[in-house]
Symmetry: C2
Subunit: 377 residues, 2 copies
């Protein structure tokens, strides 16, 4: 039961809302509430469903409305948040509005270090493609110095740091840039697939990292002089595209990081930054990521079982002849829905992550003074 | 654990959203998800907080946007709902839009009786005061024939039935009218406080009903000839005003009623209506209400403890001199927030209602043929 609830935590969550399915705030609110957090949600869009269905209805929230909702909270004295989790913003103006809110909350916490923590998920694109307005990129870059933890995927980390990531050395360089140039104390890069062939310093560890059925998460909490303290967790990837896993990861990380920081006695330390003698694999950030990945693996495995049953059922019912366009479309809708992450029926594994020992963080700080070399060979 | 999860249930929830606090969909979504339901939420407003704070920012959703979101669900084949729970609508046009959606879902279920169930919470007012546009009243009245269960409070039951409720006889008459004239098979009237003095057939049972520290819920599932089968559950009222308890009741009832109907083998029966030989106190509606009131009592008791601690703290800190207007306002905001129902930290009692035996439904069908007379004397 120790894992079940995080300390009382009031989170402002700014992201998208969908009526059906689980992405953005719809995913994040449930995940954080299941961990026991109070979640105040401002929706950056109100859509019928997520875009993987290839059709969507609804409305983007103008930046002025987001600012207005926050002003309402302030006027009713409801803005004493412990954390801000910000995700998808439909325009650069909305990114700016979120930045203003974050800076105001940061300013209000000046005299109480650690009393406000911003988890920024810089949702911009994936796999080499930007899917928001290009103007968002420089705005996100300008906000990095105010964020405590950022959760870019590999492509977003490249956009923010300006470093092309194609091996562990460039990964390290990108994270060092985010710490040192952009002053972000915690960085966690998700969904990493490094091509083994382009690696200029191949090693057994890196080949393992690049195997297609494996995904890595690489994280770091900077030392007091903003040097990276790198760790990695490798997980088995499921061969199905799930929407909302980024939001699931970010929201569970928010709750678990606060829990781990509380255990480490860091909640009154600026940015919950660990003392310099804490090893990469012992960071609260690593501890939190282990639990989150264990929870996610259990939930996604159950979702995959459900998905495969739907695929099998469909295939059996449509085994005759070539499918027409309509049938292909129907199948796409059915499969997309079957891939909705089954969080609601899996609150148990969210609260109590199973098999956490299979998701051990490993230090990547080869040769870094003060840290053991624990990288696998 | 038998109580923990309801059968897999997909609910369309149409009600208000607030960023901070728990009313409308913000309350209902969490409660139903905690019971294991898939909830698809369409928000009729997006507000910063509920109105008890006496200041609110945000936007009402135009009826056309609600219709559009539903069209989006339909186009992506995401509208095969088992249930609809509808709550606060900011205008008569929105009530009408919800009615269209409900009728369409009803029509689609014609060949599969029991496959769609509409829980209609006709939010119009309380304690003799209408707090929505007057035009909503006739629209709600016109929708009653399409609803399966309605959850009016005493005042709303009067508005809908046209019967003034001031004793058990008129209560019975109001419910009979809703069954027979308006064709609603299940009726549950919440928050009943009958004045003992105006009762024209005083009895020990009715005096008990009228004690100020007690609240009653009176429910009925009509027989096949639309006669009432009345039961009552009396609960101890807490002397604090909590917002969102109506939404909490409606959402928990939705999940628990489906669970009770499944146990009774009624999910393929039109409106989950029990056979005529089922006694009032044995109705799935009664079974569900017992669990819901047990859960709510536990959660509200915990909220009251928290509230009282806040009041005590405030009183100690402000014991000197007369409070100015600003201080009175600050106190109001603090107390209102302290009265936010603590659902998130009380998911346990929502999933597993404690002391259900203290919330036993009692038959009110005095002298009704076929039912035992079990009313207390």
């Amino acid at each position: 039961m120790a894992d079940a609830q995080v300390p009382e935590t009031h989170v402002l969550a700014i992201a998208s809302h969908v009526t059906s399915g689980y992405v953005g705030n719809t995913m994040a609110t449930f995940c954080m509430q299941t961990l026991g957090c109070e979640v105040s949600a401002i929706h950056t869009v109100n859509y019928s469903n997520h875009v993987a269905y290839r059709r969507v209805r609804g409305r983007k929230t103008p930046a002025a409305e987001i600012t207005d909702l926050y002003a309402g909270l302030k006027s009713a004295r409801l803005n004493d948040f412990d954390m801000l989790l910000s995700g998808y913003c439909p325009s650069a103006e909305v990114v700016e509005a979120v930045g203003h809110i974050a800076r105001e909350l940061r300013l209000a916490s000046t005299l109480k270090p650690g009393s406000f923590f911003w988890v920024l998920d810089p949702v911009m694109g994936d796999n080499g493609r930007i899917y928001v307005a290009e103007e968002c990129v420089p705005v996100y870059r300008s906000l990095l110095k105010d964020a405590d933890l950022i959760l870019p995927n590999q492509f977003e980390a490249e956009l923010l740091s300006g470093v092309n990531i194609n091996d562990m050395a460039t990964m390290r360089q990108a994270i060092a840039t985010l710490h040192q140039v952009h002053r972000t104390p915690h960085v966690l890069i998700t969904s990493i697939r490094l091509p083994a062939t382009t690696s200029n310093t191949p090693s057994a560890a890196e080949e393992d990292l690049a195997t297609s059925a494996k995904l890595s998460v690489v994280g770091s909490t900077a030392t007091s002089d903003m040097k990276p303290r790198l760790f990695r967790i490798t997980v088995t990837a499921l061969p199905i595209f799930f929407s909302g896993t980024g939001d699931m990861f970010a929201s569970l990380m928010s709750g678990r990081l606060r829990q781990a920081a509380a255990s480490a006695g860091l909640l009154t330390t600026k940015s919950w930054q660990s003392p310099d003698d804490v090893l990469p694999q012992d960071l609260p950030l690593a501890r939190a990521a282990e639990k989150v990945l264990a929870s996610m693996h259990a939930v996604l495995k159950d979702t995959a079982t459900h998905y495969n049953a739907v695929v099998e059922e469909w295939t059996e019912a449509h085994s005759n002849g070539k499918a027409g366009d309509d049938e292909v479309d129907e199948r796409h809708l059915r499969y997309t829905r079957a891939a909705e992450v089954r969080v609601v029926r899996n609150a148990g594994p969210l609260r109590e992550p199973p098999d956490v020992e299979d998701f051990k963080a490993v230090s990547l700080n080869v040769g870094w003074e003060g840290a053991e070399t624990t990288e696998e060979v």
